[in-house]
């Protein structure tokens, strides 16, 4: 008998230690809005999003003078894995009382998180991911896609490149939702403009750091333009290696941020054309925003994703204040999203804009060319504006997206 009593004690002790480590986090202050920033904080997209996105979200919170409610910001690393992202999102919405999740780069993860947001009817403002499916076949009433997508990039950079004589293309593509979608959208614009695609190669994401074999394959194809359908650290690595290998093709980085240009240096990056919807030196308002942002992120100036986290958070908080905190806490993600769509957006980073019925944020997009070292006058002075597309022209027409809830 003494044996079993001791074993009983032993097992209970073991169970108690394991359980004691846990705590219940269900208690939630009724007048606190909780924002979750979910992105890549350690992998290839850590500079394009990462901690700078968190800093810009907090900046928006700080600037939004508290109107009778508190705002709390939490952050997590999704490691570019859809299952990790979906799990964190689920936990945040269910257990931790997060009212809105923002950023979520990496399209595969974004689609998973969008699925959770739809299932739970909670608000998700996507800034970091590119796939145009977020407002197309994977759209959700409680989902808003902020300031760029594959369609807008393909239209601006792809269209401009073909116009400049780059009429035969070879794609090097990150093999997941984003790369595939970007290649698909770009191909559509290239062929529509009379160009042709000579071939493509998809590489495993994440984890590829050596692009040499793909670059040589591209060069062997005889195409004039090398279309890079990747992002972040991958884009930086592939451009660097193309430079080192002396690849003679014209490079079209279909998605590139100013943070990537900074990582490459102007020597390598000069002459590249790219598209962003935000640049710090566009006008007085963007400069004013950047001055403030520099205080919280002095070494990594905001790109369009960082600016988007600021802008999206600000607009969300305005909508919450407009609804009243009680209504916002009680209401569904769809209700808040609808209020956000009903209100025009206006902030220093993007100026005046709006959100369309399918959740597409409508802002101007700009075509930039990277300056030569001689043209650059100072730190982060990297872009020349080559053209701009108005908010009505830049994005995929509402009817072409195929978003299900608009058809009713």
């Amino acid at each position: 008998m003494s044996l079993s009593r001791r074993s009983l004690l032993g097992t209970t002790a073991a169970a108690a230690t394991a359980f004691g480590a846990a705590r219940s986090g269900r208690a939630q202050a009724a007048n606190t809005i909780k924002i979750g920033v979910l992105n890549d904080q350690s992998g290839p997209y850590r500079d394009t999003g990462g901690v700078t996105s968190v800093a810009c979200t907090k900046l928006a919170v700080a600037e939004f003078a508290a109107k009778g409610f508190n705002v709390e910001v939490v952050a997590a690393d999704h490691q570019n894995k859809p299952d990790v992202g979906a799990e964190i999102a689920r936990q945040w919405y269910d257990r931790d009382g997060v009212d809105m999740i923002i950023d979520v780069p990496t399209s595969s993860v974004a689609l998973a998180v969008a699925g959770v947001a739809k299932e739970k009817n909670k608000l998700h403002i996507n800034v970091g991911a590119a796939t145009s499916d977020l407002t197309g076949k994977s759209c959700a009433p409680s989902l808003i896609h902020w300031c760029y997508d594959t369609y807008m990039l393909a239209k601006s950079t792809g269209g401009a490149t073909v116009k400049a004589g780059g009429d035969s293309w070879f794609f090097v593509t990150a093999d997941y939702a984003f790369g595939q979608q970007l290649q698909k959208d770009t191909t559509a614009f290239v062929t529509a403009a009379g160009g042709k695609v000579m071939g493509s190669v998809a590489y495993p994401f994440p984890g590829t750091t050596d692009f040499s074999s793909f670059l040589l394959q591209a060069q062997a194809s005889g195409a004039k333009v090398l279309g890079l359908c990747n992002a972040g650290g991958d884009t930086v690595n592939s451009i660097k290696q193309a430079h080192e290998f002396g690849v003679k093709m014209k490079l079209a980085a279909m998605l590139m941020f100013i943070t990537d240009v900074n990582a490459l240096g102007l020597d390598v990056a000069q002459g590249l054309t790219l598209t962003e919807s935000f640049y710090w030196d566009l006008n007085d308002r963007t400069r004013a925003f950047t001055e403030r942002a520099k205080k919280v992120t002095p070494n990594n100036w905001p790109n369009m994703v960082h600016a988007g986290c600021y802008s999206g958070t600000l607009h969300f908080l305005k909508a919450v204040a407009d609804m009243g905190i009680e209504a916002a806490k009680k209401g569904t993600g769809t209700a808040i999203a609808e209020r956000m769509k009903a209100m025009p957006t206006d902030d220093d980073a993007f100026g005046k804009g709006s959100i369309r019925a399918d959740g597409r944020g409508l802002f101007k997009s700009y075509l930039f060319q990277v300056k030569t070292p001689a043209e650059s006058k100072g730190k982060w002075d990297y872009y020349k504006v080559m053209g701009e597309t108005s908010a009505t022209e830049a994005w995929r027409p509402l009817a072409d997206g195929g978003c299900y809830y608009l058809k009713s």
Binding site: S7, S24, P82, V84, A86, I88, P204
Partner: protein
């Protein structure tokens, strides 16, 4: 009735009570994850703890079970129970293939063959179109159990997962404490002697390998139905390492050890997730401490101190 010794009976009752009351205190999704991994670790333990076969490729069965369950539930609209069973069957078939190639080998060669085969399965999954590559199979519906009970509610899902876990756990216990299980332990202790007593040891090893792979497939299938997603994470090498860690931390060759190991590691992962990369370091430290101080695992050590079998 299941051949529990008294300490095991007591432990089982404690586990049963914990399974029943814990949703009141903890996040049910986390608990479901614990149960899925506990099942996976129990399956692994069946192999390494009771036959002494150290496989380095169990993620292949777990992940493939997950893919099959997710695919059949999403594309064919299969009943969740059938989808999970399909996952288990595919895990078992894959186990038969692995076993056929690996069983004749011993020790490190056995481990290396399973590792190589599971890497092949992994790369197959990155390229095959049905797995969705990096994106995985997303938005898998939980569906309605037997066409009637909606599993959308977390508590309904939890009940199903708990039942699957308990039934399979008892099955494993039954296997281990049957005459068949006695032979397995004899093989673990001294294979030539078991052969000399007239047992076809390869056949026994093969059968238990298939059983273990099948249960791992069920665990993977359940996990993908719970989370509504099946991805490369579950089929990757790291997952094979994870299950080894769970089994070793809890106590290899004890029936409850793997459950405790899964519980500890998942809770650590969940509550230390904010630490980001430091989580992996913490996990490493735990592993090292375990090797240094609890070489038999937490429950293994406890059982040895108390001179009972747990």
């Amino acid at each position: 009735m299941f051949g529990f010794s008294r300490p095991q009976g007591v432990s089982f009752l404690i586990m049963l009570a914990a399974v029943i009351i814990s949703p009141a205190f903890f996040y049910p999704i986390l608990l479901m994850k614990v149960l899925c991994f506990a099942l996976f670790a129990c399956a692994y333990n069946l192999l390494i703890g009771y036959v002494g076969l150290g496989s380095f490729g169990h993620a292949a069965f777990f992940g493939m079970g997950g893919y099959i369950a997710a695919y059949s539930a999403k594309k064919w609209g299969l009943d969740p129970a059938l989808a999970i069973i399909a996952g288990g069957l595919v895990g078992a078939v894959l186990g038969a293939v692995f076993g056929w190639l690996a069983i004749g080998r011993q020790g490190i060669y056995f481990a290396m063959i399973t590792l190589a085969l599971s890497q092949m399965v992994f790369f197959f999954c990155t390229q095959a179109s049905f797995t969705g590559g990096e994106d995985g199979i997303q938005q898998v519906p939980r569906g309605k159990l037997f066409g009637m009970i909606s599993l959308q509610d977390d508590m309904a899902m939890y009940t199903v997962v708990a039942v699957i876990f308990l039934v399979t756990f008892l099955l494993i216990h039954r296997i281990v404490h049957s005459p068949f299980g006695q032979v397995l332990k004899a093989i673990r202790e001294n294979e030539p002697r078991a052969t000399s007593l007239g047992y076809r040891t390869d056949d026994y090893k093969m059968l238990v390998f298939i059983l273990s792979a099948g249960i791992a497939g069920i665990a993977g299938g359940t996990k993908s139905i719970v989370f509504g997603i099946a991805t490369l994470t579950d089929v990757a090498n790291a997952q094979s390492g994870e299950v080894i860690l769970m089994t070793l931390v809890g106590g290899m060759g004890t029936i409850f050890g793997p459950v405790l190991g899964a519980l500890i590691l998942n809770f650590i992962e969940s509550y230390l997730a904010q630490l980001g990369a430091w989580f992996a370091v913490t996990q490493g430290v735990i592993f090292v401490l375990c090797i240094m101080f609890f070489r038999r695992g937490i429950l293994g050590e406890l059982a040895a101190r108390l001179k009972v079998a747990l």
